[in-house]
Symmetry: C2
Subunit: 323 residues, 2 copies
């Protein structure tokens, strides 16, 4: 390994939407990338996807060089042998355990013993996948948000057999990826943000189903209350900001009232039973039309760009406060 | 009442920070305001506070007219008789039930039977306070976020005896206040966002106390994951956006694992026992210094202004989608 701990070359296996946007985030950060697809039919479409995402990234003003500069800094290939030069290999293939197992075997056959291997899974526990590794201590989860090149979020998750030292090295390295990496020392289901969000869903559905508020009303509340501060300070720093003294009383009277239900909310079950895929097949919790979906997607793309730049202006200052 | 349902004049009782920023939000929206303080010593400081907040509001570009224009559109007084001209009176006094009771009695002695009376309480159930009213059907909670003139959040809460028709009229009226009002049909403890946030705190503390992640790490996750979309779409529209299909499986395996604890997290209890008031006495969940607090407050003031304008550019489009 070079000075950077993982050297200057990173391998990414799997060139779906997520894989290609992860590749672009590494290119943006100055790495060379071996873009490997085990699917021959993905070689061509993968190349196109990376170009498209590079263009999007450039359009947002996030590339330190012109797009052309990056064209010879990645190689799209089906040859696992090229991974040998990589200090880190990130697996982004389909969420099927047997396929991931095959990928790890092939990767381990071709890389050095100290090459770090990571999975982008959000569905399978890291400790389960880790069992397929010959050298499991160098294996961990690295979980991006979409689009990977224009989001700060990054969860690095240790499996039961992961070396914490190696995971901390990757976390420190990830600071150079334009990320705000966080390290999960234990491989908990759902990682962090999913756990927190499901706690919100549970309480949210309970309030809706008690007739306290409509779904659109609840969304509005959260958008305009939490939305006004969470990007700046998270939830616990917000408590300090508000002064703490009212929380204890509220804890005492509110905690016993929160929903502890374990069953799936009925309206979710019904929508999913009829094959609901939200905006993707116009069947979801809200009514959607092709037109409204197009607008929402465009809005999100624009909003994401704006909030990314907005949070960037504050995060450096806030990181100083974290010391 | 005039065409607007509550006429053009609103009374606000209590000129603390919150009261004065609520007054400014009404002035901004074009109402005349009777700013009433039951505390003689607050008459002068209340006037100064309103001026200061008008200036801040103007600085953000939120006033439709020059500051001077508003100077004769409000009257600071200790005379409850002036409330007679108000179609709505909002109580913002200290969170002590006996004091609020006195205020309601005085207000009801001076206003018409159909004048709407609201409380800004976040601590006392609306149904409890409602008992002190002669005409309880016209009483409800209206809950702002600070600073009231530069936030969209507004929860309108029915008590057990509130007329839903009157509450809906106030909700519709509040659309003209530059707000995104939501109506809670039932008077639940903590209202909506507090309930949702305490569900997050419960799970968050559980994860921290299990050694999964640090507090700063958890905040970072939430800031950069949720922060990247919540202002745009809330939580349930986000589910539709992501496509729903993965949620059912996650529900099944995650719900049984979420924390159901009812006790106050130990670190909260410890800090509060030693009188911790977060940034206000430099004793909180995070370390703070006078310098870091000054920076955080300045950052929040700037951030709030930016996110307010940012969300404004999207909310109109999104409201169209809500139809």
């Amino acid at each position: 390994m070079g000075e950077r701990g993982i050297g200057n070359c990173i391998g990414v296996v799997g060139l779906g939407l997520m894989g290609s946007s992860i590749i672009v985030s590494f290119l943006r950060a100055g790495y060379r990338v071996i873009a490997l697809t085990p699917l021959l039919e993905e070689l061509e479409i993968g190349t196109i996807r990376i170009r498209e995402q590079l263009d999007l990234c450039a359009k947002m003003g996030l590339l330190p060089e012109k797009v052309d500069f990056f064209f010879d800094r990645y190689e799209v290939t089906a040859d696992y042998g090229l991974l040998q030069q990589c200090g880190l290999v990130v697996e982004c293939v389909i969420e099927i355990e047997t396929i991931k197992k095959q990928v790890y075997e092939l990767v381990e056959d071709h890389v050095f013993e100290n090459t770090v291997i990571a999975t982008n899974t959000s569905a399978i526990p890291i400790s389960n996948l880790q069992k397929y590794l010959k050298y499991p201590q160098r294996f961990m989860g690295i979980h991006w948000a979409e689009p990977a090149y224009a989001t700060r979020f990054l969860e690095i998750t240790c499996g039961a057999a992961t070396s914490v030292i190696i995971a901390e090295m990757i976390r420190d390295e990830a600071e150079n990826w334009g990320k705000e990496p966080t390290l999960l020392y234990k491989d908990i289901r759902g990682f962090i943000t999913n756990r927190l969000m499901y706690a919100v869903y549970r309480e949210g559905f309970a309030l809706i189903n008690k007739g306290c508020i409509s779904m659109a009303g609840l969304d509005k509340c959260f958008q305009h209350d939490m939305g006004a501060w969470v990007t700046l300070m998270g939830i616990f720093r917000r408590m300090d900001f508000m002064g703490l003294q009212d929380y204890l009383k509220t804890y005492h009277h509110l905690f016993p009232k929160l929903s502890n239900r374990q069953d799936v909310p009925q309206q979710m079950e019904e929508i999913l039973e009829k094959g609901g895929r939200g905006i993707h097949n116009l069947t979801g919790l809200y009514p959607h039309t092709e037109d409204s979906v197009r607008k929402l997607e465009q809005d999100f793309s624009n909003f994401n760009e704006e909030i990314y730049h907005l949070s960037d202006r504050y995060r450096k200052k806030l990181n100083d406060l974290n010391l």
